[in-house]
């Protein structure tokens, strides 16, 4: 045990001891211990595990779509159109005889891509704008926050519609449009968080050490804001999926024959009375994934929120 602590590396079978050791011997161990304790708190919440399970399933479905799909998602077969769910077609077929299960599996890739790209664009943008506004204050704060107000004064879907109309329809433009509507609430949140810590003594201490404003914002203020931004963006994922589906539904997002869930729902609407599965299956997929992200976001809040120590 002592030898293992000295080297700082986990010996065989001593991983748990290493993760809970009183004496920490390397930065990696300190971080691993923090992660491990967070995971234990996370794992003690069953809803958190359900949310995580759904999100992991979505990711696996997207990665292994060619393996789990039973048909080519684009293969049309007019003699097999509008078949109800059965052993051959688990979730039925659509108006062109395409297998809905296979299309939903491939559609997971599109959904995941939208969610990830929007998160990767909106979270850093919102974080940067919010922390800069909050830390610098003065006219920078006024200018940036009025910009945020302008964006926030439109409902997200309407604003996304306007952007897509201006940029042209298509999946890439839909992603950009959704990202442009997703950053302002994050900027607000990051600014509020920054305002609570900018006068803290530990920020004063690093200013006294001679740090530049940029360094203070990036290395000292952002780490404080990141947990709440992660929570917010995870909770927003459901809204992002719904907005993407809404754009697809209106014909402004992914274009046919792409198996985007919102677009599938939109075409299924015409056959809703006779063949309910066309609209219901992608609808259920959207519901489950949105629920999964919401549960995950709630659980992350319990683990990461600094106020709930």
């Amino acid at each position: 045990m002592t030898a293992e602590v000295r080297t700082g590396a986990p010996a065989h079978g001593g991983l748990r001891a290493w993760l809970l050791a009183e004496t920490v011997t390397s930065p990696a161990q300190a971080r691993a211990q923090k992660l491990y304790l967070g995971w234990r708190r996370f794992a003690s919440n069953p809803l958190a595990l359900i949310g995580l399970g759904i999100v992991v399933m979505l990711i696996l479905l997207a990665i292994f779509a060619p393996l789990v799909a039973t048909y080519d998602p684009f293969a049309q077969s007019l003699e097999r159109r509008l078949l109800p769910p059965s052993g051959a077609h688990w979730l039925g077929t659509d108006e062109l005889g395409r297998d809905i299960w296979s299309r939903i599996a491939y559609g997971a890739r599109i959904t995941l891509m939208i969610v990830l790209l929007v998160a990767l664009i909106a979270a850093p943008l919102g974080l940067l704008i919010g922390t800069v506004a909050g830390y610098l204050g003065g006219w920078v704060d006024v200018a940036l926050m009025r910009l945020v107000d302008v964006f926030l004064s439109f409902p997200g879907l309407i604003l996304a519609l306007a952007f897509v109309a201006a940029l042209g329809s298509g999946l890439e433009n839909a992603i950009i449009a959704i990202a442009l509507t997703a950053w302002p609430p994050i900027a607000r949140l990051a600014r509020a968080e920054t305002l609570t810590v900018r006068r803290a003594d530990y920020i004063a201490a690093v200013r006294l050490a001679g740090a530049s404003d940029l360094r203070i914002i990036v290395r000292h203020i952002m780490p404080i804001c990141i947990p709440s931004v992660i929570i917010r963006i995870t909770l927003n994922m459901a809204g992002i999926i719904l907005t993407a589906a809404g754009l697809g539904f209106l014909g402004l997002g992914a274009q046919p024959p792409s198996p985007e869930w919102g677009a599938m729902l939109s075409t299924g609407r015409a056959y809703m009375l006779g063949s309910w599965w066309l609209a219901a299956m992608p609808g259920i997929a959207i519901l489950v994934v949105s629920l999964g992200f919401n549960l995950l976001g709630d659980a992350l809040r319990d683990v990461l929120d600094p106020r709930a120590s």
Binding site: V24, D201, R207, L208, A209, P223, I224
Partner: protein, 265 residues
């Protein structure tokens, strides 16, 4: 080197404007000699911490003049002053970044100033403040109040400043820990040949640490006196005597006066 290390003339700091204008510091002048411990004492809100924030460069909105080690304190942020003057804050629970380990906190000033052999410097200051190297990778929430304050002192020392500004460094700590931290500060001062400016409202701390003390009230300096004069009651102002006796605890004279005030009210 002879002559004062810190030289402050007619320092004024005010907050707000118009009717709500407050003169937090109203024309304060003092000198601190090399190797001296200069105390600033007064009740809450008398402007003693504000003086520290002005001469350290944290607050740039002030008038008057201040020089530290022969260099004028600028009215904008000046990173080169970091190697001359550092500060220890009152509340060790608020002065350490909650997401940074002790090592990260100590490494940050080294990185900012591009100094070499960071690991060796960290080992040295940790030993100096009486913490074992095992504390390097701890987060603040894994430390006690006294240990946190030792880390905060280590962080102030790591750039090897000549002047340390101490803003009530023990008032947020348990009584049992206060003496440890004060002794540590005395030891460090002797070893590193530092100059201290110590803000406190506790005459016990002042008497233990300081050579000279200035008494403040409403942003002004009432009087400056040596600690010997203070201990033997040779103060010129009644306010100083009241403050001293209030700090010493229950006093019949003070009690009588409070009773009189109550009766008059």
């Amino acid at each position: 080197m002879s002559g004062p290390v810190i030289c402050v003339r007619d320092l004024r700091v005010s907050f707000g404007r118009g009717a709500s204008l407050i003169h937090a510091v109203d024309g304060v002048s003092f000198d601190v000699a090399e190797g001296e411990v200069f105390g600033l004492v007064g009740e809450s809100g008398c402007g003693k911490s504000t003086i520290l924030r002005a001469i350290s460069g944290l607050n740039t909105e002030w008038t008057g003049s201040a020089t530290i080690a022969g260099r004028p304190v600028a009215h904008r942020r000046d990173p080169t002053m970091a190697r001359i003057v550092q500060m220890v804050f009152q509340d060790p629970y608020g002065s350490l970044h909650p997401k940074h380990t002790v090592e990260t906190a100590l490494m940050e000033p080294i990185r900012i100033h591009g100094l070499d052999s960071g690991a060796r410097r960290i080992d040295r200051v940790l030993t100096e403040v009486g913490l074992s190297p095992a504390f390097r990778y701890r987060y603040p929430h894994q430390l006690s109040g006294g240990q946190r304050q030792r880390v905060a002192i280590a962080r102030a020392l790591i750039l090897e400043p000549r002047v340390l500004l101490l803003d009530e460094p023990t008032s947020a700590l348990d009584v049992s820990v206060q003496a440890e931290i004060l002794n540590l500060l005395s030891d460090i001062k002797r070893m590193e040949k530092l100059t201290y400016v110590l803000v406190s409202h506790d005459f016990g701390v002042i008497a233990h640490m300081c050579d000279r003390v200035a008494v403040m009230n409403h942003g002004m300096m009432l009087e400056e006196l040596t600690v010997e004069d203070l201990m033997e009651g040779r103060m010129r102002h009644d306010y100083t005597r009241d403050l001293y006796e209030a700090s010493a605890g229950y006093s019949r004279r003070l009690q009588t006066r409070a009773d009189e005030a109550d009766a008059a009210a």
